[in-house]
Structure formats: C-alpha cells, structure tokens
C-alpha cells in the first residue's frame, strides 16, 4: 500500500552497516547530477555517511528498523534529513565523537531535531555556492 502522499524524495535503507554505503552512493548520484562541484559531492556523501553511521551505531530498537533519508532539492541548496526511528538525542549528548564534527565541517548547516515519531532527525543543508 502506498504511504502518504509523496511530495519529497525519500530513500529508505535497513539500519545495518552494509546498507550505509548504498545511501552514500545514491546520494552521490543525485548530488553529482545536480551539478555540485566534485568536492561538494564528496562533502555531501561524507555527511550522509556519518549520519547513517550514527543511526546504525546509536539508535536503539529493532535491528531491522529503517533509516529514512529525505532529500529536498531547492533552487539554491540541497537539504537532507536522516531519520532513524530510534531514541533520539540532543546536542548535549554529543560528547567527543567525530561524526557530528565532520558533518558540521562539510555541510553549511546541521541541525538535530528529534521527535517521538522520528527518533533522531539530523537535518543538513548544502548550499549551491556554499563553502
């Protein structure tokens, strides 16, 4: 059965290590054809890789749960949300890991907005002409 009305591009992968690369690869295909420069394509791949890796490593709940990656293609930027249906977390939990540091350094904006329906939701923005 169809989910709710589709207005977005949504990619769903199992929350398992060997599927993270699939999300990266498909993201790359999108970013490259959206004509981001090569460095920016790699930045976007890396950020999606880090966010999905965190979902696999930190989200509790059934192993076969999904990670949802939502792409919002706007005229001047690409917005990506990575949602894992786990327990969520907030900025204070971040500790001294590298994942979020890297996401923040390669994307123009990274925001964590968790909720009971989504678990962790990491929202990332890459500007068309961003750094």
């Amino acid at each position: 059965m169809s989910a709710t009305a589709a207005t977005n591009i949504e990619l769903r992968i199992p929350r398992q290590p060997e599927f993270v690369r699939i999300a990266r690869w498909m993201t790359c295909g999108l970013a490259a054809r959206l004509q981001f420069p090569l460095g920016a394509v790699k930045d976007i791949e890396l950020a999606v890789g880090e966010a999905c890796t965190n979902a696999v490593e930190h989200a509790k709940g059934p192993q076969d749960e999904a990670i949802l990656i939502r792409f919002i293609v706007e005229s001047r930027r690409l917005v990506i949300e990575v949602i894992d249906y786990g327990q969520g977390f907030c900025e204070e939990d971040e500790g001294d890991g590298l994942g979020l540091v890297i996401m923040r350094s390669v994307m123009d904006h990274v925001e964590i907005c968790c909720g009971p329906d989504t678990g962790a939701c990491v929202r990332m923005v890459k500007q068309r002409d961003g750094s």
Partner: protein, 117 residues
Amino acid sequence: MEIPLRIEARMEGEKVGVLSLSGEIDIATKDQVREAAEKLIAGGARSLLVDLAEVEYMDSSGLGVLKGLRSQLVEAGGKVGIVSPQSYVKKLFERSGLDQVFPIYDDLGAALEEAGR
C-alpha cells in the same frame, strides 16, 4: 556484488607492518582493517604504516579504528603513520584535528625511512 575494500598486509623488516588499503573504509568495512592490523601486530609489528593511496572514501569509522590502533601501539612504544592519502581523505584528517595526531607521509619510501630510524 562489489568488493568495497581490499586489504594487502605485509611486514617491512621485523617491526613495521604495512597495510595497503583500496576502496572504501566505512562502518561496514572498518572491522576488516582492524583485524588485518591486529594480525600484523600479533606477528610482531610494533608500528604500522597505513597506505591510503587507493582509498576513495573514509569517514569517522575509519578514523576511529586508526585512533584505536594508535593508542594500542603508542602504549608499547610504537606508532601509526598514514601514507599517501588522497587529498579529500587528507582533508578529513585535518577536519577532525587528527593531522596533529598522526604523521602523514607523501609516500611509503619516506615513511619507511623514518620508521627505520
């Protein structure tokens, strides 16, 4: 279908282990790196050189493994050096501040020379 990561492991002399990696180091392949390194260490390696020339993708999963190996070896007086990372991977070390922690060599020859000292 595809082979995300290929690993070649060998000793250079009695104390230096060299790992040549090609492909992608991520959450699904990082354990292979750790295991290959552990084998070299079990075989006598006190230092490791990790050749990243052919590594097209690496993220914090890979950095985490390298940090873990470094802690282990430094404790025993050894070290972990990074060899020939592609420019984007080199930038990853800088972004995460680990270029201050790992020596990064342009080529294996220079790395081996220094390791031999």
